[in-house]
């Protein structure tokens, strides 16, 4: 962009009152801004941008502020004791991050989860997906300056948090999925309440479209901004709704179905335009699809049955390794667990969608305007706590 631009400026030299040509170095013109952790626009994450006027020429992400050693802590606790601390990296999507772990441990220890348990796990996962996506939508709204779009999704999250509290016993810190199934059965009256809340929520989605997605001011800020082509997206390895917004219909629930997802009929939602608007709109389409999935799950669930495989308190399996992944709110969330025959895992590696999506941040920000920085950064669905684990 600026290679043909000449770095020479005319400067008046006061000593002999003539015009002199002075070369300005590249570094003098750039201003370094640290969008750091003490900034209301960045979350627990820091990235430095070098700005030339209004255009960003260099971006350097700096994660690691919330690193708590989750993977190391797993080696000192047995498989069931790992659940409460493993759900903390992304606490408001806790049913997905423990889902993947449970699947991997079940593969290692050869546990078979009963069918009703699988259905309840899928219902809890879909409910959590709604909760997380609404939270992300609220943050996206407030960082575009739309305070109403912060309040409405945060209020509507309450519909699903109420349901999850009825099901699991806690509003946010569920600790519900364990290797072998789920910890308790659905209480009486859960299905009716769930269906009632979902019907009300589908009407609310229409309001969100009216006030936010069809608002010309929001479209002007996000359409055509931050283009990520399909080839670049696949090359950078982004995942989740960011990938689906770049014309790639890839969803792990369809590509590698786990539990009961091969019996559910749903379409993978994707968009062709590959800009920030697509990245903001795909989660809304995902939420609609998720409501549809939940209705099918509530319809097909077997009326009675066990929800949890009978286990000894310290399950252990033969030495081996397992890798399973799950589609969470941010993308593919995978666990690679190596066990050496003892009740405690030997090594746990968590592969999160946020860390992969972060790689797209320098690629998208270079060449963009500084005023577009919030819409690009927050559209990448990046949750810093999960990326740092």
């Amino acid at each position: 962009m600026s290679t043909e631009f000449s770095n020479e400026t005319l400067k008046k030299d006061s000593s002999n009152s003539g015009l002199q040509i002075v070369k300005e170095s590249e570094e003098d013109r750039l201003m370094t801004l640290s969008v750091g952790p003490q900034h209301p626009g960045s979350g627990h994450f820091r990235f430095t941008v070098k700005v030339d006027g209004d255009y960003i020429v260099h971006c350097d992400p700096d994660p690691g502020y919330v690193h708590r050693g989750e993977e190391k802590m797993c080696e000192y606790r047995n498989f069931i004791q790992n659940i409460p601390h493993l759900e903390r990296p992304v606490i408001h999507d806790s049913n997905n991050i423990t889902y993947s772990y449970s699947l991997a441990v079940e593969e290692l220890t050869n546990i078979q989860v009963p069918r009703r348990g699988q259905f309840i796990r899928a219902i809890a996962s879909e409910l959590n997906r709604q909760v997380y996506t609404l939270y992300w939508l609220a943050i996206y709204g407030i960082f575009l300056g739309h305070s109403t779009m912060f309040m409405w999704p945060t209020g509507d999250r309450e519909l699903f948090i109420d349901l999850l509290e009825m099901l699991t016993g806690a509003r946010v810190t569920h600790a519900f999925n364990i290797p072998g199934g789920v910890r308790n059965d659905m209480p009486v009256g859960f299905s009716e309440k769930c269906l009632r809340n979902i019907s009300y929520f589908e009407k609310r989605l229409v309001e969100y479209e009216n006030i936010f997605y069809n608002n010309p001011l929001m479209r002007q800020r996000t359409e055509g901004v931050g283009l990520l082509t399909k080839e670049d997206a696949i090359k950078l390895g982004v995942t989740g709704s960011v990938l689906r917004a770049s014309n790639t219909p890839y969803d792990i629930r369809k590509a590698e179905p786990y539990d009961v997802y091969n019996e559910i009929d749903f379409k993978v939602q994707y968009m062709k335009s590959s800009d920030c608007f697509a990245r903001a709109y795909v989660p809304l389409l995902d939420m609609r699809e998720s409501c549809y999935i939940m209705r099918q799950l509530l319809d097909k669930i077997p009326q009675s049955g066990e929800v949890r495989a009978k286990l000894q308190p310290n399950p252990k399996g033969p030495a081996g390794e397992a890798y399973r992944r799950v589609e969470s709110g941010r993308g593919a969330l995978g666990y690679y667990i190596i066990s050496d025959g003892t009740p405690k895992p030997y090594r746990v590696k968590i592969s999160v969608g946020s860390f992969r999506n972060m790689l797209a941040l320098p690629h998208l920000l270079v060449g963009a305007k500084l005023a577009d920085m919030p819409s690009i950064y927050w559209a990448l669905n990046y949750w810093p706590v999960e990326a740092d684990r």
């Binding site: 626009g41 300056g145 739309h146 309040m151 209020g155 001011l217 002007q220 800020r221 005023a371």
Partner: protein
């Protein structure tokens, strides 16, 4: 584990009576030791009107306390002095009350639109004393000035901001005859004063010596300058139709039909430009929280922040009142107040006193009422975009201000000229009032 409502003090009648007696005692002490000497000093130096042919001496004034029929003429005299006009009625206190009510109503209105409750706990009824609580909090905070900041400008800029906002108010006519300064170039003076605000924003952001206010101040400068031109051009159409720059004449010229019916585009352009001048959402780039912390207000704290907020809301009232004067007919409205409060005809002095006969002027009260209603309606309309729109980006903002709005106001000027030359308005026109 004391919760909020667990300490209930029981009511004892003896304690209540005792506290009342204490209150009366303290009031008496203050009145006799402080208020009475003050009144005497003021009365010796202030010019007093003659009442019933007698000069009002201080002793006669004090007899007002037992003979209330003498109070009302003095009140009427005070109401027509300059000081009352500047400080109380169409001037600062009126605007400050409007600003205070606006701040509270804005918070509750936005909260209702966002399905939540606004301020709730200050004051018994749904948080009505929240503003007083906020004011007390701001007064008690420490004012932190960044090192390297330019101290004289840092202190002077907020005061200049409030002063400039109050200066715009002094030009607005609330009722015929009730305006602080009735100049023949009122509209031009209003725009001249509005031109100060970018300068104050820039000076304050530069004096803050910090990166984020610097960016915010530049954005404020760009925004306010870009929108001043459509602002002036849209008001120009009104001047073409009414033929005068005097705000009282403009408001009086709209008595049969308001100008908004003839110049709707101009009203729209004026409205959008005033939203941009006030830095309200969707034009609040200079204070964008997500990108530049708080823009050019970042380094303010305590009463400096309080003064800036007061100035902003007074400016909101001023621009809304200007809109009402230019396009909505100022004070025009059907007469709904009766000729006399209470039973008509000659009455006993007591009834005359209680129904405020010497100072009640039904026309003026009616005009003030309609003006207030219309201004409040326009203020509510200005509060509405805050709940609906996100923030606009700087290049779209400048594009809108410099291209679209100027084009629209030129179109409207042609409409105004066509109306004048078509004989509808202007001298000898069909709809011109005499």
């Amino acid at each position: 584990m004391a919760s909020r409502g667990s300490r209930i003090v029981e009511f004892r009648f003896g304690n209540f009576v005792a506290s009342l007696i204490w209150l009366i005692l303290i009031v008496l002490i203050i009145v006799s030791l402080a208020a009475l000497p003050l009144i005497f000093i003021v009365l010796f130096y202030a010019p007093l009107p003659p009442i019933n042919g007698q000069v009002l001496t201080p002793y006669l004034f004090l007899s007002m306390m037992v003979d209330p029929t003498r109070t009302l003429p003095v009140l009427k005299f005070i109401m027509h002095t300059e000081l009352f006009r500047v400080a109380v009625f169409p001037g600062f206190s009126f605007a400050a009350i409007f600003a205070a009510v606006t701040i509270f109503v804005e918070r509750k209105f936005l909260a209702k639109m966002q399905l939540r409750v606004g301020p709730l706990y200050a004051g018994k009824i749904e948080g009505i004393l929240q503003l007083i609580a906020d004011g007390l909090k701001l007064i008690s905070k420490e004012i932190i000035i960044p090192s390297g900041a330019d101290k004289p400008i840092f202190w002077a800029a907020p005061i200049a901001f409030v002063a400039a906002s109050a200066a715009v108010i002094s030009l607005i006519p609330v009722a015929p005859g009730w305006v602080v300064s009735n100049t023949d170039v009122g509209l031009l003076a209003a725009f001249a004063i509005l031109g100060f605000f970018p300068l104050i924003a820039l000076l304050f952001s530069w004096a803050s010596n910090s990166k984020y206010p610097f960016i915010g101040g530049l954005r404020a400068l760009h925004q306010m300058i870009a929108f001043e031109i459509p602002f002036i051009l849209s008001a120009l159409s009104v001047v073409i139709l009414s033929g005068s720059l005097n705000l009282t004449h403009i408001a009086a010229a709209q008595s049969p039909y308001w100008y908004i019916f003839f110049l709707p585009i101009s009203a729209f352009v004026f409205f959008i430009s005033s939203l941009a001048e006030l830095e309200r959402i969707p034009f609040d780039l200079p204070e964008a929280e997500s990108e530049i912390v708080a823009g050019w207000l970042t380094e303010t704290s305590g009463m400096i922040y309080g003064l800036l907020q007061l100035g902003t809301y007074i400016k909101l009232y001023a621009l809304a009142a200007l809109f009402v004067t230019l396009f909505l007919g100022g004070w025009a409205g059907p007469q709904i107040f009766p000729q006399v409060l209470g039973p008509p005809g000659p009455q006993s002095p007591l009834i005359q006193l209680l129904t405020l006969r010497p100072i009640y002027n039904p026309i003026i009260v009616n005009d003030v009422f309609w003006f207030s209603i219309k201004t409040f309606g326009i203020i509510m309309l200005m509060l509405l975009p805050r709940g609906i729109n996100p923030r606009i980006r700087i290049d779209i903002l400048l594009h809108t201000g410099w291209y679209k709005l100027i084009v629209l106001s030129f179109i409207n000027m042609f409409i105004a000229l066509a109306l004048v030359y078509g004989g509808v308005f202007g001298p000898g026109g069909v709809l011109t009032p005499h």
